[in-house]
Amino acid sequence: MKEEFRSWIMGESDPMEELLDFSQENDLNREERRKLTVEKLRVLQEDPDEQQKVARVRGRFTRFYYLVAVLSCVFLSCVLLFSISMLPQYGEENPRTTEVKDRYIEKGVEETGAVNVVSGMILDYRAFDTLGESHVLFTALICVMILLRIDRKNQRTGYEDYYTIRSDVYYDLSKDSILCTMSRVLLPAIVLYGIYILLNGQNSPGGGFSAGAVLGAGMILFSAAFGMQTADRFFTMKACKVTIFVSLAFYSFAKGYVFFMGANGFENHIPKGTPGAILSGGMILPLDIAVGCVVSVTMFGFYSLFRRGSIGMDVDYAHYSSKPGKAKGGRQV
């Protein structure tokens, strides 16, 4: 029992393997899978009993499905209509919402030191919310990594190897002369623009999220134009880890410090600077940079993981691919 549990935790065996029959089929390659499907359909067509059984189950399920769909739709509509009836009339002053909004607009510049009220809101008044958002991005990156990353445990599964699979090399359009030339022209402008809206987030529209998106898109363009191997030189797994950890830890500590030393209009000793200058807004600029780092790394990490299943060349591929089928822990076919 204990041994079974341990092997399940380590990913060596699957207790559901016998019960769910798709686990074996999915290991086959496309041609064999198609043959199996054709075979199944043929058997089904020749056997009237089997056909009847399938039709009965399917009919029952369809009826159940319709029932649940209608019920859930009616329930959801009732809930939504009920909550709509609680809203204030259109055009009527709603003191609960206008109070906060007026306060932000009137006192925002004075209290946060940021000319851009949105930046002041998301990184000063509601900085805790933004911290949660950055952690959501981080969690999303971790989940994609869990699902898609190819490491030494699952890199040789016999049916897929992203470094030898034909399509990835065949459809790889990097080192194309048109794209390379265009990227040489455009990349400096894109990166410069990203840095500008990152550093100027407290004074003009922009800030961490949009700047991170621009920088991440620039990195994606770079790796698409000059090849993943070129991007690996600066964006490794270690760089990704360090950047995200340092950014999130800095954000947490800096904002926690601000919270404890007096936030939201209380006196604190962090200088606000003159509104409109680059170094204004107290902690808004460093927090913006942290958020921008997290967003850009997350975007490029998504691209890299979806493209080839790894961030940087973090596994010695040459060593492992020289011994096919010998990778430890992966399911053998």
Binding site: L173, I178, M182
Partner: protein
């Protein structure tokens, strides 16, 4: 008088741009194959954009906004053909029934 001339120039250029976009939209919806559609969309992406942006530049006069609009057209003219080039490359490489749509010379 000069305001009047400027208004008419702007209006005529804007109309030409809108006609280009109309041709593009008709082409995109009437053509059946992706490369034909790309050919149609190229009209709007180059000529339509050029005429509309030109008319807007004339309308705004000589100031910083004109420069920004000029940057817009430069950026669009650099990026749009690149992405179109890549779409067509992907189509050429991945479509197994390419010969039904495209007549190619045989490689020697």
């Amino acid at each position: 008088m000069s305001e009047w001339i400027r208004f008419w120039v702007v209006a005529v250029l804007l109309c030409i741009g809108v006609i280009c976009y109309a041709v593009e939209v008709v082409g995109i919806f009437r053509f059946g194959y992706v490369l034909n559609r790309m050919h149609a969309s190229g009209i709007g992406d180059t000529m339509g954009l050029l005429f509309i942006v030109l008319s807007l530049m004339i309308a705004s006069g000589l100031n910083l906004n004109t420069l920004k609009i000029l940057l817009l057209i430069i950026f669009m003219w650099l990026t749009s053909p690149t992405s179109t080039h890549f779409l067509s490359m992907v189509e050429m490489r991945t479509n197994p029934h390419l010969d039904r749509y495209v007549s190619r010379r045989k490689a020697p």
